[in-house]
């Protein structure tokens, strides 16, 4: 049996030295330990992120922000969590009970599972066994991330529907349209990374980038996929300026209007958890994961890579807070226009250019020029078509405006 397993071993076990010598009790324990640690780390990072966001936003708005619980208000999130825990748990009369109870968990699980494939550091040794600081390295790594982000829509969608109330339903309909549309742009910019790396494994993507800073996909892919990914990820997370799902001014509280107590806390947790997870994914895909700037020294020490990883993670967490404090919310049609008419064509075009570049530089530049030319032509064609339709249908309003 083991000889067979070795035959496909490169596929099944994907190179974590932990599984090199078969699976026994100790290995199972180590995996359980890693799972626990990863979960705890994500929880602590959520506690931190909530505090960080409130503090930075209040700094940007000339306020003080939380400053009562703990030093600099660091324990505020914990206090809020405990408060929520003891609040009354309401179940609306019109709600679909089973799904109403299920929805918060559906939104929290994908956030954690996606975090599982992110490499956090180098190889460490636990109880004489070497293992990577990465919970799982499935052979379809990147696709697993995509799968999780497409499953994440269920939590929001079902929460809104099962509440049996108007505003949550509106919020969840918006959410599902938004998340399904931006997933295409997200997937296409991930495809650019996969194209250059030639592997779907997250560990391969990191090791490809670990030679030096110019090998980071951010520079290698020419910034554009990174920018598209950042925008699409913000939309996937329903964070400002794409937070139409819970637009307070229009929808009361959006999809979680009817939720209270622990279930509300779970939604809150899920939102921040996926923010941290998405930032970690961006670090992995574009900023070289745990590899530091400069030539890699083969993951020296166990904790330097972790430090680099966290430092890069902080950049993205800060960017998210910054966006929230700066940009006003988009209108719904602007959101859809941005996704379908700009991001998706742009990322398709860039994917073609990158593919041609890999074949030959000359092809790459040819495709680049031809793409821009065709794009301009298409733009002009759309303009002509639009003005023709306007002329056919809109003669009357033109007169009215003139009159």
């Amino acid at each position: 049996m083991y000889s067979k397993r070795e035959a496909v071993g490169s596929v099944t076990l994907a190179g974590d030295p932990l599984f090199g010598g078969g699976v026994d009790g100790a290995v199972v324990l180590i995996v359980l330990l890693k799972t626990g640690v990863a979960f705890a780390a994500l929880m602590v990072s959520v506690l931190f992120m909530v505090w960080f966001e409130r503090k930075v936003v209040s700094d940007m708005q000339n306020r003080i922000g939380p400053n009562r619980a703990g030093p600099w208000g660091t324990l505020q999130t914990l206090a809020d969590g405990i408060k929520l825990f003891f609040k009354e748990d309401l179940l609306p009369e019109q709600a679909d009970r089973r799904i109403f109870r299920l929805a918060p968990y559906l939104s929290i699980v994908p956030a954690f599972l996606a975090f599982a494939v992110v490499p956090l550091g180098g190889v460490i040794t636990i109880a004489g066994r070497e293992t990577r600081l990465q919970l799982a390295d499935p052979p379809v790594g990147i696709l697993f991330l995509l799968a999780m982000s497409s499953v994440a829509v269920y939590g929001v969608m079902l929460a809104g529907w099962s509440s049996g109330s108007k505003y949550p339903l509106l919020g969840s309909v918006r959410a599902s349209a938004q998340m399904v549309s931006y997933e295409a742009a997200l997937g296409l910019s991930m495809a650019a990374v996969v194209l250059v790396t030639g592997s779907l494994l997250t560990s391969d993507i990191v090791s490809e980038q670990s030679r030096s800073i110019v090998d980071w996909n951010l520079f290698r892919l020419g910034f554009l996929p990174f920018g598209i990914f950042l925008v699409a990820a913000t939309a996937e997370l329903n964070r400002p300026p794409f937070d139409l799902v819970e637009a307070e001014q229009e929808l009361v509280g959006g999809f979680h209007t009817e939720y209270s107590s622990l279930r509300f806390a779970l939604f809150f947790l899920a939102e921040f958890m996926s923010t941290v997870t998405m930032s970690a994914v961006m670090v992995t895909l574009f900023l070289g994961g745990p590899s530091g700037p400069g030539p890699d020294r083969g993951f020296p020490g166990a904790f330097l890579p972790v430090f680099w990883f966290l430092a890069k993670l902080m950049i993205f967490l800060f960017i998210y807070v910054w966006l929230r404090a700066t940009l006003p919310r988009l209108r719904y049609d602007q959101l859809m226009d941005l996704g379908w008419k700009r991001l998706i064509p742009l990322s398709l075009f860039w994917l073609l250019v990158l593919a041609a570049m890999i074949l030959d530089r000359r092809y790459g530049f040819a495709v680049f020029g031809a793409g821009i030319l065709l794009g301009l032509l298409l733009l002009r064609a759309v303009q002509v078509g639009q003005s023709a339709t306007d002329d056919a249908a809109g003669a009357a309003p033109a007169v009215r405006e003139a009159g």
Binding site: M1, I99, P138, S150, V151, L200
Partner: protein, 211 residues
């Protein structure tokens, strides 16, 4: 012949329970949303079975496309059309449909049992089909056959899909709304007529007494 290990049997058993529970849920749920969610459960169970057979790519695509897109669209339609109310399962829409379905179900089960007993190709072992598809990782093998041997079929399928998308857009597009005729301006009584700038011209000049 590979023998199934205990782990294989456990994985198969767990996912089979999930698949069957989901399938039964789809059939007996009175509420369409519950039925759609049971379908998601079945899809996940099948994805786990795919992973157990080393078809990782298939499993990922199953979750992304079916669970992540298609069932979401189902739910979207159910929510938008407001058909999410309970259905009376006891009422029979098509007369005589149930006995026929029952008989066909029995026949299918009998067929499966015969097939599994007759030959010995169902072992439940991990990766029975994995090595059969040739060396190399899933994705590479798949890509190679997709872009060499089945290139024509692949391209034709993509053209077909593009046509379908364009067709859907064309069909879904409403014709530009007929602009309602400008309503006849209400006859404004003379005394309410407000002087306007361009009214000024035809006003007969009145004698202005010289100062």
């Amino acid at each position: 012949m590979l023998a199934a290990t205990k782990v294989d049997v456990a994985v198969f058993g767990a996912s089979a329970v999930i698949v069957l529970a989901g399938a039964i849920g789809v059939v007996i749920s009175a509420n369409p949303v519950h039925a759609a969610l049971s379908l998601v459960m079945t899809l996940f169970g099948v994805a786990v079975l795919f992973v157990a057979q080393e078809a990782h790519f298939l499993a990922a695509v199953q979750v992304i496309v079916y669970a992540g897109a298609i069932v979401v669209l189902f739910l979207f339609v159910i929510m938008l059309l407001g058909v999410d109310r309970r259905e009376n399962v006891a009422r029979e829409e098509l007369r005589g449909q149930r006995p026929i379905a029952f008989l066909l179900g029995i026949a299918t089960i009998a067929e499966f049992v015969l097939l599994t007993r007759g030959t010995s190709w169902v072992t439940g072992a991990e990766s029975v089909v994995g090595p059969a598809s040739g060396p190399g990782a899933n994705v590479e093998t798949l890509a190679r056959s997709l872009f060499t041997r089945y290139l024509l079929a692949f391209e034709i399928t993509s053209v077909l899909l593009v046509i379908a998308v364009v067709g859907a857009v064309v069909l879904a597009r409403r014709p530009p709304p007929e602009r309602p005729e400008e309503p006849e301006p209400l006859a404004v009584p003379e005394r309410l007529h407000t002087p306007q700038l361009d009214d000024a011209a035809p006003v007969p000049a009145t004698e202005v007494p010289a100062p």
